[in-house]
Symmetry: C2
Subunit: 351 residues, 2 copies
């Protein structure tokens, strides 16, 4: 069962829960706003359902509320930010703040992270930079425990789903792309398994390297693997996932096979278009480009060509009005954490 | 009919032809070496067959040998390079030289181009930077006349095949990836049409937006379109192609619909890993990552998991020994240009 709740209610409750778990007010708000905004935009898998998960990780000591997020070192237009295992959205938001500041100074920045917990919606950080008039490319890897994605031509996973996001300012909503470099993330396979449905073809291989539509062939044991983006030209998706791995681990001096690594390895490249062309002209040319692309007649007569992020901004506008659907399991988990942390549930949800 | 020739022979002949067409010796050598190296690496579509094409473009005035390649403006860690319609490989090699120099100063660089002719093998520039110890990402768009690639959900092409390349230094051969953001480049569809064979599914749509395996359904008229990378999740390939378009046109102040634009819009981002981690450690971690990835058992028992670029470096080693296969049509075109330009064919090909 799923009910809708106003975003302010959930953000208020989440903020109180994170504060009760030990987060300073500003960091509780960053984390709450990030997760609620993900759900507002329809990215539910990286949204409100993560609130109880993060609270459990705090209880386990994996997330350290209030841990200092510091520039480990800065060299030229580059920086390495140590996120200290604070909430992922806190670490990554501050790392992008650093990238934005450097790009303001020199026109381009490259910032990587260490000890950054789960960053949730990677596109949010690209959007953060686009909101400041910058082009940003964001990548994010995960440690060996999540290496479910097959290298091209291989039978055993060697990469995580390693998403790539980018944001570009326009005259209106920014362009925001955000996608896994596998065909699908693991969570989608789980949904099909839980639903008892066969997978669409082209998502996974079984442990023997054969294409399969059986979700259990992915989970095993022995475990199969997620296929890289690209189908018959999956070497392209593999190459993209590999780049994300290099930027997230090797570039920060971490071995990809180090089982002690935690969280996401984030890399942000921010570019100031105003160094190349007046920003108003840039925004105007972006709007022209969007109009040109959207002028393509749609394949489906009832359809429409959408720019990356356009669907998500529409969902956001709708959910700001209609509220956010939240399933009962997530709701009960939130209620349990509120009881554990002595947060006054009734103050947020009277009646 | 195809014959093999030693790479030195072709490079010597190509250099003489480009000099005879008006190129200064160093620029003739850059262009000849670029195209011959592409063929050495098995990238024949961007190799020797382009020599007669470039010579015809010089004759037409589209390529201007010896045109100054200058930094139009430099701001912080960014630069815009005006390639003056010199040979594409000359303009792009010098633009990457600029990126390498800036990354040496500040750790990261973003360089775009204007009036850059066909750059041929984009991966070569990523490899150029990797040879200097840098990570480089290279993108390259093309003007509206080549907008054969469909936006996701659309019926009419709005992007070119917009390739992405990257290079990363290791302890041995660099990692070099280089691929179109469509499923396949247009040349592959042409090959199937010329061979009278149906296309594999998933490459094209006809003009009505229906999937097709008929190469003529792409060419029309009315023209169909090439599908973006990704099959059922082709919105990912579309997003990648769009980013390449933005970096190649909008970021340099050029409208994507401007029919007067010529050549490729190149964007190079170069990152110095030594700003983040000692370079020897970086190289060593890269070798560890390659070993880990290649340790995945292959899907095909007789196969092998290869890193991006590995196949191409193997082909290069083989063709350095065995010579480069050149088809008769290309050979006759070269001979025709030699006669036209009064280049002494016999000096390069005695007997």
């Amino acid at each position: 069962v799923t009910q809708r709740y106003p975003h302010q209610t959930i953000a208020g409750l989440a903020g109180a829960l994170f504060r009760a778990a030990g987060a300073p007010p500003d960091e509780a708000a960053i984390t709450a706003d990030h997760l609620v905004t993900s759900s507002l935009m329809g990215c539910d898998s990286h949204g409100i359902l993560r609130i109880p998960e993060y609270l459990s990780l705090v209880a386990d000591g994996a997330i350290v509320p209030g841990a200092p997020v510091v520039i480990d070192h800065r060299s030229g237009s580059t920086a390495l930010v140590d996120c200290g295992q604070n909430f992922g959205p806190v670490g990554a938001t501050r790392a992008m703040d650093v990238a934005i500041a450097i790009a303001g100074e020199s026109g381009v920045a490259c910032v990587t992270t260490r000890r950054c917990n789960h960053v949730a919606r990677l596109g949010a950080y690209a959007e953060q930079a686009a909101g400041r008039g910058l082009i940003a490319i964001a990548t994010c890897n995960s440690p060996i425990g999540g290496h479910f994605v097959l290298p091209w031509g291989g039978k055993q996973g060697r990469l995580a789903t390693n998403p790539i996001a980018y944001g570009v300012p326009t005259g209106g909503d920014p362009i925001v792309a955000d996608f896994a470099t596998s065909v699908v993330p693991e969570g989608k396979v789980r949904w099909y398994r839980n639903s008892g449905l066969p997978l669409p073809p082209g998502w996974i291989q079984d442990a023997d390297g054969r294409p399969s539509t059986d979700p259990n062939a992915f989970y095993g044991p022995p475990r199969g693997g997620l296929l890289p983006l690209g189908g018959a030209v999956g070497y392209k998706g593999f190459a993209l996932g590999l780049l994300v791995e290099i930027l997230g681990s090797v570039l920060t001096g971490i071995a990809s096979t180090d089982a002690s690594t935690v969280g996401n390895g984030v890399c942000f490249v921010a570019i100031d278009p105003a160094r190349f062309v007046p920003i108003d002209q840039f925004r105007s040319l972006m709007d022209d480009l969007s109009a040109y692309i959207k002028s393509s007649p749609p394949t489906d007569e009832a359809g429409e060509v959408l720019m990356p992020g356009e669907k998500e901004f529409r969902t956001k506008r709708a959910r700001l009005e209609e509220g956010i659907p939240i399933d009962d399991a997530t709701w009960e988990a939130l209620r349990g954490h509120a009881a554990r942390l002595a947060v006054d549930w009734g103050a947020f949800l009277p009646g």
